[in-house]
């Protein structure tokens, strides 16, 4: 597993909620439909500007709201890492379980301008702004959780343990109405 993640930063503010990342009108849709709708309401068009390997920097209370798998949508669109001043604990659980690297790092939203490059060490959990040289300390993620975040989440583990069936490629969803 890579221990250094570096990528281009997209900034989002405080209290970014799950409904913005996974809107209700695709809640019953496919993962693909959900991925295309990320931030459609608050930042239309962003989904076409961002690229795989980019990093999201959020403010306080990132991921407040629903149990819906918004973290999976961020993983599916290729977000390499989410770093926020603080993260809602339900969103954090979903990040662990769906395989999104997510770090709580007080002060991170002040330390970055949009499109600067962040370098994240998953060894010592530091976050560096390559442009300013500033280095911040993120909260340590316990090793067993980091393994899940980097290894595709909990489902591969449950499959190996024979608790759930392997995922079958689902048939196309029926028409919505």
């Amino acid at each position: 597993m890579s221990t250094i993640i570096s990528g281009r930063v997209w900034k989002f503010g405080d209290n970014i909620n799950t409904d913005l990342m996974l809107p209700g009108d695709v809640h019953a849709g496919t993962e693909e439909e959900q991925a295309k709708a990320v931030f459609a309401a608050n930042r239309p068009g962003w989904i076409n500007e961002m690229a795989r390997g980019d990093i999201i920097v959020g403010g306080r209370n990132y991921g407040t709201g629903s149990s819906r798998p918004a973290a999976r949508s961020l993983r599916n669109i290729g977000i390499a890492c989410l770093i926020a001043d603080s993260i809602n604990s339900l969103f954090f659980r979903n990040s662990v379980n769906f395989g999104l690297v997510a770090l709580e790092c007080p002060g991170v939203s002040e330390a970055f301008e949009e499109l600067q490059i962040a370098e994240v060490s998953l060894t010592d959990f530091t976050v560096k702004n390559r442009a300013t040289g500033k280095v911040l300390q993120a909260l340590v993620v316990p090793p067993n959780m980091l393994v899940l975040m980097q290894g595709g989440g909990i489902y591969p583990v449950l499959e190996r343990e024979g608790l759930i069936a392997p995922k079958v490629k689902s048939a196309p969803a029926p028409a919505r109405h």
């Binding site: 809640h27 309401a41 339900l90 608790l163």
Partner: protein
């Protein structure tokens, strides 16, 4: 040093004598509640065995009765799951269906001192029953159902002590909005409620606050167990339990007093719950298209009683839609028997079947472009109830009913001088 409520329950359920903030604990799960969303194609994973089917409850709530072919298909998958594992506590469309957290309340499934999980953020509703109930993700649910376990990172706890009693026209929704406005988010913290004012709050009134705990991002939102709670539980569930009240020397990150007698009707402005409320007077006169009363926070029998008292003998303003959705069919039937449904429908409201409905933007009252809604439900997020250009104000059932009559956001005191609590 003693333990607070959450520390006590998680210590017991993890086999530890004492646990402290920052610790990761693995606990035995007493109850795992699956909702219909769990059976949607994008969420369902085929479980090959269950740790204990007796600990599983299945409730169809978000899209029940099925609102489209996707949810109808999900219900088919859910019924097959129930049959395959012999799940006894199954709440299909019918007499005992409703929003999972309301069904949990109707049946006192969340017992004091127990751990309950469900893949819906408002599962903290069960905290009103002195239960360590919280929303988890879909994978956590599969983990809990197949292994019987869940992990939690213990956060610090903020204690809220209620004193006094609520004045006329004010409800615990206003109390919650006050807490969310004054103290903001509680990320990585638990909130614990008690105090001398607790005895003046009904179980339904407490449930509104516990349910809304998700909206301040609290890990757990839990109430002390008192005689009112124990009477409620014993009337509905004969299973044994052990309450978990805080030790006298329990440790809290902070202790705050909420004087209920000083509360006033508040309105959360659109798009964000925390740090975003104003006294109703500040937005009085704001035009509305729709008014909604429902959800796990405000679909209780108390909410029907309040709505009926405000609407009695009055009419919903022309051009405004008032939609009232009970939290469960049991609540619906009780509201029918009490005459509340008659009063509310006579006023021109549409009373729907029990479901999450418009709160989650699923069905039965979705908002169109640029529409303005005042809602007594759980969230005012952009796009939450339909079109992202719609604007959602959030308030108490009393304020929403008053606004529906006025056709603009209005103070409940314009229509009632009653004390609700």
């Amino acid at each position: 040093m003693g333990m607070n409520i959450i520390e006590k329950i998680l210590a017991r359920k993890s086999g530890a004598k004492k646990i402290s903030p920052g610790e990761l604990v693995v606990v035995d799960v007493d109850t795992a509640v699956f909702i219909d969303n769990a059976f949607f194609p994008a969420y369902y994973r085929d479980m090959l065995k269950l740790a204990d089917p007796e600990k599983i409850i299945v409730v169809f709530d978000h899209r029940a009765p099925a609102s489209d072919r996707v949810s109808a298909g999900a219900h088919v998958v859910g019924r097959a799951f129930v049959k395959r594992f012999g799940i006894k506590r199954f709440h299909d469309v019918g007499a005992n269906v409703g929003i999972a957290h309301v069904v949990v309340a109707d049946n006192a499934y969340a017992l004091p001192g127990t751990v309950l999980v469900c893949a819906d953020s408002h599962t903290c509703s069960g905290g009103a029953f002195n239960s360590a109930a919280r929303g988890v993700g879909a994978p956590d649910m599969i983990y809990a159902a197949t292994t019987g376990k869940a992990w939690f990172k213990l956060g610090e706890t903020v204690r809220y002590d209620f004193t006094g009693r609520l004045p006329a026209g004010v409800t615990t929704k206003d109390v919650f909005l006050h807490i969310a406005n004054a103290f903001g988010e509680h990320v990585n913290q638990n909130v614990e409620f008690g105090g001398s004012g607790l005895k003046h709050l009904s179980i339904n009134a407490r449930r509104t606050i516990a349910t809304m705990g998700a909206e301040i991002s609290a890990d757990f939102a839990i109430f002390e167990a008192d005689d009112i709670l124990l009477d409620y539980i014993r009337a509905r569930n004969k299973a044994p339990f052990e309450v978990a009240n805080p030790d006298p020397d329990a440790v809290y990150n902070e202790r705050r007093t909420i004087a209920l007698n000083e509360m006033e009707p508040l309105v959360a402005l659109p798009d964000q719950v925390v740090n975003n409320s104003v006294p109703v007077g500040k937005v009085a006169g704001q035009r509305i298209d729709q008014a909604f009363i429902g959800s796990c926070a405000n679909g209780t029998l108390d909410d029907f009683a309040i709505a009926a008292r405000v609407l009695m003998g009055r009419q919903v303003a022309p051009g405004v839609r008032l939609i009232v959705t009970p939290g469960s069919q049991q609540v619906y039937r009780e509201a029918l028997r009490a005459g509340y449904v008659q009063t509310i429908a006579d006023a021109g409201a549409v009373v729907t079947n029990a479901t999450c409905g418009a709160c989650g933007g699923g069905h039965l009252g979705i908002l169109g472009p640029n529409e303005i809604c005042i809602t007594a439900s759980t969230r005012n997020f952009k796009g939450r109830m339909g079109d992202p250009t719609a604007r959602i104000y959030m308030a108490s059932t009393a304020t929403v009913a008053a606004s529906a009559i006025a056709g603009v956001i209005a103070h409940p005191g314009d229509f009632t001088k009653e004390v609700f609590a």
